[in-house]
Amino acid sequence: MIPSDHFTRFYNEVFKFLESRGEEDLELYWLEISKNQERHILELIETKGFEGMYEYWSVIRDEENCDLDLIVDDEHIELHMHKCPSLTKAMDNDAEPMERYCDHCAGWIGPIMDKTGYHLVYDAISRTEPRCVSRIFKDPAKAREAEKSARLLMSWPGRKAKQDGSKP
């Protein structure tokens, strides 16, 4: 058994392999993880909206021992991750960390938000600092506005296509 505590270090090895195969391989994996995560979050979003997201990330905060503040109101939810245990473990690792480790997070959350009609603004801040800020809006205009202040804005499979209008 790879302990659940060590999942992120296993994840890191998977990312490195997939990155060696190409960007498409990495994105297909994120989409697969996104589908896996739907089991845990999709119904909460569809039935409770932002409150459902708050519920989901409250459990994550506790179970994954995150230093995370959650702010929710009628228009959006914000996740202020002050110390991300996932990146912290990937970096505190006898194996080499994958340089784009942070990208997976938007890689699975983004497609779920697209699917449920929400708009994710994921500011990773830095790929070598275990902190980030995510904001999720119902109103796309507010999301586009929030993107302007992001320091390291993350994308995900499908996001760029939606922005330039090349795909529905």
Binding site: M1, R9, F10, N12, D25, Y29, I33, N36, H40
Partner: protein, 154 residues
């Protein structure tokens, strides 16, 4: 002084809560890798986990110290509240897992447990012990149950 305070920490000592749903993501990952790239690639990734991520455990094995592996097992099987015991004998060390938390959690939350789910154990164990005076053999004894045996190579 309590024994724990006298002992050196494990390389990846953990405290706090556990997030068992990660085992579901491992299950999904295993199926994804096998379907797209084949079982050999999955085993290569597990070998990297055993050799690179668990470099410290492997070094202990290379140094002729299998006790670190026992401490690792105790720490993480306790954290996940598995039903297990470890018998340390003169010729072998036997970990008997009667109820693997990872397997049973996946059985609860996922459509199916991957037929390759337990390869994470056998292949990581093999890689940790590779090149050392010991081998770690993993025998699956039932759904979510196994024996893992450390013994000197013949």
């Amino acid at each position: 002084m309590p024994r724990q305070q006298l002992e050196k920490s494990l390389r990846y000592q953990e405290d706090g809560n556990v997030h068992l749903d990660f085992h579901g993501a491992v299950n999904t990952t295993i199926d994804f890798i096998v379907e797209r790239y084949g079982i050999e690639v999955l085993h290569e990734i597990f070998a990297k986990v055993g050799k690179d991520v668990y470099r410290d455990l492997r070094q202990h094995m290379l140094d002729g110290d299998p006790d670190e592996m026992v401490r690792h097992w105790r720490h993480f099987f306790d954290r996940e509240n598995a039903d297990y015991d470890i018998a340390v004998g003169e010729d072998e060390i036997v970990l008997t897992v009667r109820r693997c938390t990872a397997y049973h959690h996946v059985a609860k939350i996922a459509p199916a447990v991957s037929p390759y789910f337990c390869d994470q154990t056998s292949k990581v164990n093999e890689a940790i012990a590779e090149g050392s005076a010991y081998r770690i053999d993993t025998e699956i004894t039932g759904p979510g149950a196994c024996r893992q045996v450390i013994r000197r190579r013949a």
